[in-house]
């Protein structure tokens, strides 16, 4: 309850942390930074509650829907703590404009949001009357998405640090491009498991045996 209201209150105050050290009035920037840190703390609170509720299921739960959701919650925790850190001025001055931020936003959108959505789909789908559901493919989808996302985010985060370090050092601009090249190649290849994961998820929800239609509907049809 406390978590809900705090998240509700703090989220809208975060926007300006995208413009730290810009011309936007310093008070506004500071407000957004404080809100970002408070939000990080709140998320720890909420996620602790969620994960403690899951006690016993394990991080890689047997039920694939639950497994998606657990990982989504963990990604949410990581991405939020990362977000709070990034909003702090010294960190922001370092990583802003680099691939670090790209990794961060993918962790939020693909890791948190997409995993939660996939978990919900995997949970609901087998209960829809007459829907096709291929459990093995959805299971594969989980591991492909998990592996691809992990590779991409770790890769982009390291790339961001490398780029930021070169920018800080005053090295000529092309040096940061040359240094980023291997990371960009890895990032490009990380798309293969991610795309494969989404294809497997789609296939898992459109192929395979049909679920049993409820008896009532059978009677109505007859």
């Amino acid at each position: 309850m406390l978590g809900f209201w705090l998240l509700f209150f703090l989220y809208p105050l975060n926007g300006t942390h995208h413009y730290v050290m810009s011309v936007i009035p310093m008070d506004t920037q500071v407000t957004a930074i404080i809100a970002s840190v408070l939000l990080g703390l709140t998320v720890i609170l909420v996620v602790a509650n969620l994960l403690l509720s899951l006690h016993g299921a394990g991080v890689f739960a047997k039920d694939v829907g639950l497994r998606f959701v657990v990982m989504s919650v963990i990604f949410y925790l990581v991405v939020s703590i990362q977000g709070s850190l990034q909003a702090l001025m010294p960190v922001n001055a370092f990583v802003h404009f680099t691939d670090w931020v790209i990794g961060h936003s993918h962790l939020a959108m693909l890791g948190f949001a997409s995993f939660a959505a996939a978990g919900a789909l995997a949970h609901v789908w087998p209960h829809i009357p007459g829907a096709r559901y291929h459990a093995r493919l959805v299971h594969h989808a989980y591991w492909l998405l998990f592996a691809g996302l992990l590779i991409m985010v770790v890769d982009l985060t390291i790339a961001g640090v490398v780029e930021a370090q070169l920018w800080q050092s005053g090295a000529p601009w092309p040096a940061s491009l040359e240094a980023a090249r291997p990371y960009w190649i890895i990032r490009t290849w990380s798309a293969v498991p991610i795309a494969g994961g989404f294809i497997a998820l789609l296939a898992g929800l459109t192929t395979g045996p049909r679920t049993q239609p409820p008896a009532a509907e059978m009677r109505a049809a007859a």
Partner: protein
């Protein structure tokens, strides 16, 4: 109240709170700062900002359409590395009329806030057409579709885009002295830790006609070779003969460095200030050690030959003829003593050569003793061809006379030490 009624009310409470929090956030972090920003922009900005011309405004639309802002920011933050690399931090009034803004979120390429005046128009065309011919490490895509077949045939889209790029940072520059003073005041008010000086207004690649060159350290020749390959070879060529892949689109063409002698002072000036009016940018973003290394590499291994002090002195009558021809035809721009300080020099877009600091290496002269420059002129500059106006003897004589100006004290000392 029964619990079920309270629960029904909770939806109402959540809705009211949701809208309320949103309104609070918009007011607190949107409306109120926007008013303060408008105040600050009015307080620190110049009396008026020059509007974009039709071509520049169209170029801005092309900049947006081609997605330039995905990889190039237009926002210099209040951080020391940003200021050192791209110039003074962006102030509120500078982007006031920029709707939609092009601030950007990711820097794959460099920030362009103050890119105006850092590169020549033909360099921009060459770069848009084939980026890697002028910046070998670039990952920028080619914008060939803005050209009709080659960098020398830009369509209107390309011309307008380059016209727009040339405006970046212009408003700040035109704000003048008052603008600078206000900018410094605004920066102080904004972030007391950083005090950008007035000369930080400009991008470090911006060319200047003149400017104080700091003393460069002696440098390391091997480092200079590496730097040359990375930054210079694209235009000046791997063998320094001015024939790199980027050279074909540039007018005047990049200097043939293998064909000239330069004093250390001259080379340092060119690197520090660029060559105004040409595609040669300034390299103030390189460290002084790196600049010193480049100077070392580009001046030290002078080709052996009948040079300098040990060369045969030309006959006195030849020098007298050369002086007569020089005083009549060359001194207006190149100056009476070859120091590029003739009365007409300042009116030239590209400064005339200073013969005291630079000369053609005589080993490279054509068979008849007449430098190619005299016969053909230099396309893209005010140096015309003299073939139709001077005889062969006059051209040879004036070349000999001009060589007398060159004073390379450092090289002379090095030569003496070696002997």
């Amino acid at each position: 109240m029964r619990p079920s009624r309270v629960l029904r009310m909770s939806y109402l409470a959540a809705s009211v709170a949701g809208v309320g929090f949103f309104v609070l956030s918009v007011a607190w972090l949107g409306v109120w700062p926007a008013r303060r920003l408008a105040d600050e922009a009015a307080r620190t900005g110049p009396e008026h900002v020059v509007a974009l011309t039709a071509s520049e405004a169209r170029g801005r639309a092309i900049y947006a359409r081609e997605g330039c802002a995905y990889c190039h920011t237009q926002q210099i933050r209040f951080t020391q590395p940003d200021i050192a690399r791209f110039g003074a931090p962006t102030l509120a009034w500078e982007t006031r009329a920029d709707t939609p803004h092009m601030l950007g979120t990711r820097r794959i390429g460099p920030d362009l806030s103050r890119a105006g005046g850092t590169r020549s128009e033909d360099w921009q065309f060459m770069h848009l057409f084939a980026p890697r011919t002028v910046v070998p490490a670039s990952v920028m895509p080619s914008y060939r579709h803005l050209f009709a077949g080659g960098p020398g045939a830009p369509r209107q889209d390309a011309r307008d885009l380059v016209a727009y790029l040339e405006t970046l940072g212009r408003a700040r520059e035109l704000a003048g002295v008052e603008g600078s003073v206000r900018a410094v005041t605004a920066s102080h008010a904004h972030m007391s830790g950083l005090t950008p000086a007035a000369d930080l207004n400009a991008h470090p690649a911006r060319t200047r006609r003149s400017g104080d060159v700091p003393a460069l350290p002696a440098g390391d020749r091997d480092r200079g070779i590496v730097l040359y390959a990375r930054h210079c070879a694209a235009c000046h060529g791997a063998t320094r003969e001015g024939d790199g892949p980027g050279a074909s689109g540039l007018t005047p063409r990049p200097s043939n460095l293998a064909e000239h002698d330069y004093t250390d002072v001259r080379m340092a000036q060119v690197l520090w200030n660029g060559v105004a009016g040409t595609a040669m940018p300034a390299w103030r973003d390189l460290s002084r050690d790196d600049l010193g290394s480049l100077v070392r590499y580009l001046t030290d291994p002078r080709p052996p030959g009948p040079l300098r002090h040990d060369r045969v002195q030309p006959p006195a009558e030849m020098l007298a003829l050369g002086k007569r021809v020089y005083d009549d035809n060359c001194a207006q721009c190149h100056g009476p003593d070859g120091a590029a300080d003739g009365f007409a020099a300042l009116s030239l877009a590209i400064a005339p050569t200073n013969f005291r600091q630079q000369r053609l290496w005589q080993g490279r002269m054509t068979a008849d003793g007449v430098p190619r420059v005299l016969r053909d002129g230099i396309e893209g500059t005010m140096m015309a061809s003299w073939q139709t106006r001077l005889t062969r003897e006059e051209m040879a004589a004036v070349a000999e006379y001009v060589f007398q100006f060159f004073r390379d004290e450092a090289a002379a000392r090095a030569l003496e030490r070696r002997q």
